[in-house]
Amino acid sequence: MKTVLRLYVTGTTPRSLQAIKTLKEICEKDLQGNFDMSIIDVLERPQLAEHEKILATPTLIKELPPPLRRVIGDLSEKEKVLIGLDLHSHS
């Protein structure tokens, strides 16, 4: 099953860029291409943030496979991100 990831950020702040960079790394190295990833800027699409009840940014949501997981922060602590996404065994 493909891993579906959504990253919610606020504009192009250093924090957003850091999160995007880490996420791309994870997708390439840890998911080995088997993923569906998108980045949503809440300033442009606030309705989506409302729908997902996003408070903190950046927020990374793993929609699939279940269970749903949320990681908040700039993802700079990569180990924690992998634990949060249940991907630790792959690393």
Binding site: Q18, V42, E50, K53, V71, K78
Partner: protein, 508 residues
């Protein structure tokens, strides 16, 4: 306080009943006000009502940012007040930002973050409906969900700053852990310290008492101290602005009959139309009779009378009236008499007051009797009772209703009951009824203790009760110590000696 700054702050009327009076015009416009209170102090109702009154007043759109209850719960809860949130949402008059915690939304934290998502959603909601009012309820719930209190406080400050830039007037609720002490948990008042309101729900003597206090409005004035409020089924929070009612009512010398010629005579020609008469005496000595006599006298005046009965049922009252030769049935049939029988314990004093005021405004009586005020004393705390008495009496005076209020007391002058301590100074007339026993026989005495603005009979008259009601007779002679509660017979020769004593004094 900086005068120049104060001049620049205008207020918006909230529409919350009573609030605009105690705040001298409403909430400071374009600013954020902190509303702090313990659990169950009606913070959420206050926050929601602030938005709803804006909609009801002039269709002012508002945004409700909820951190605690889900929008669905809020919609359901507010339907109890007949507020149809969903309908206003459809008309873009109200929008939710749902920041409530949801099951399964736990998170892991990796690195730094901010509340950018929340802020983007708030800005979006405000822009979408053109909101002028915003409520955030309650920030404690937000602080509990994230580990970094310092960061959340900084982000809240950012939100407050953004709200200011939008020019919206906002309410921010926060928890307190106890009724007295720190304003709010987490020291949140530090960044919205401009305006602070405290809601209390204190327990005293097994009775609850809700109050609201404006702690500060920076740069602008407001009434000080706590004001009682109640939560009503169809109007939400209703604040009773006690001291806001001023003694500005005009006064004149119009008199109304007490229903008894002799008693009128003793009062120098009847009670004043805009006066409060207190009938005080021991149980069973004729207070209800005096009150009913007063009501019965409405017959033929073309005006209406109202009785607020807290001790007897409708049927009992009518039976008693018949026994005294008064035709209450006819008066009621003619629409000249309305009787409100209420069991004191059915509601709290704040609700009693609102209910009484509503009925009076609907019926517009020119005279009213309350029988008895003492029955209400057991319902609330002493402070609530005092406020009730002050509010009710100023309301009656403001509406120029001649009022007779009965109160049960064991003693007369030397020991006023608690009820009377609160009311005796604001009454214009006090009529004292006493049992007087001498030579093994029971008599009843009546005296006018006080008659503001008029001379009155200083004698203690004997009175009797029969099939025609009240009969005021001759003054007691040869008796002394009636007021003290210890009547003593005085011989004729002793009276003569005493009279002599005073006349000799005069001659010198």
């Amino acid at each position: 306080m900086n005068v120049a700054e104060g001049a620049g702050i205008s207020k918006i009327p909230t529409g919350i009943p009573g609030f605009d009076l105690i705040s001298y015009g409403g909430l400071p416009k374009g600013r954020t006000t902190l509303v702090s209170g313990t659990s169950g102090s009606a913070k959420t109702v206050f926050a929601a009502q602030f938005l709803i009154q804006g909609i009801l007043q002039d269709h002012t759109p508002g945004v409700f940012i909820t951190f605690e209850e889900s929008p669905d719960d809020i919609r359901k809860n507010l339907l109890g007040f007949n507020w149809n949130i969903a309908e206003w949402e459809d008309h873009d008059l109200l929008a939710f930002v749902d920041a409530s915690a949801e099951f399964g939304h736990d998170h892991i934290i990796s690195g730094t973050y901010d509340m950018g998502g929340l802020i983007a959603r708030i800005e979006y909601a405000i822009n979408k409906i053109g909101a002028k009012r915003v409520s955030l309820d309650s920030i404690g719930a937000l602080l509990e969900r994230f580990d970094n209190t310092t960061l959340i406080r900084r982000e809240l400050l950012r939100i407050v700053t953004i709200l200011k830039q939008f020019g919206v007037t906002a309410l921010l609720t926060a928890e307190r852990t106890e009724e007295q002490g720190a304003i709010a948990r987490y020291g949140v008042e530090e960044f919205v310290a401009d305006n602070v309101i405290i809601l209390r729900n204190s327990l005293f003597d097994e009775k609850r008492r809700r109050t609201i206090e404006i702690l500060k409005f920076r740069g602008t004035d407001h009434q000080k101290g706590e004001f009682p409020f109640t939560i009503r089924p169809n109007s939400g929070i209703v604040i009773l602005p006690l001291s806001a009612i001023e003694l500005t009512q005009s006064s004149n010398f119009d008199r109304v009959s007490s229903g008894n010629d002799e008693l009128d005579h003793m009062c120098g020609g009847g009670f004043f139309q805009d006066s409060l008469v207190l009938i005080t005496g021991a149980t069973g000595c004729g207070k209800t009779l005096v009150a009913n006599t007063f009501l019965n006298a409405v017959n033929g005046t073309g005006n209406r009378a109202m009785l607020l009965a807290f001790e007897e049922s409708h049927d009992q009252i009518f039976r008693n009236a018949r026994g005294w030769g008064m035709n209450f049935d006819q008066l009621e049939q003619d629409g000249l008499l309305k009787i409100m029988c209420v069991y004191p314990e059915t509601r709290n004093l704040e609700d009693h007051l609102i209910e009484i005021q509503k009925n009076i405004l609907d019926y517009k009586p020119s005279r009213i009797a309350i029988d008895s005020l003492s029955a209400l004393h057991r319902v609330g705390t002493p402070k609530s009772f005092r406020e009730f008495v002050v509010s009710l009496s100023s309301f009656l005076k403001f509406n120029r209703i001649a009022s007779v209020i009965t109160s049960t007391s064991a003693y007369g002058l030397d020991g006023f009951s608690v009820t009377e301590e609160h009311i005796s100074t604001i009454t214009d007339t006090i009529v004292l009824l006493r049992y007087i026993e001498f030579y093994g026989e029971m008599h009843r005495g009546l005296a006018v203790l006080k008659m503001r603005g008029s001379s009155h009979d200083k004698q203690i008259r004997e009175f009797s009760i029969d099939g025609h009601g009240l009969n005021v007779g001759r003054p007691f002679r040869q008796v002394t110590g009636i007021l003290r509660g210890d009547p003593q017979h005085v011989s004729l020769s002793e009276m003569e000696r005493l009279n002599q004593l005073f006349s000799e004094d005069k001659n010198q």
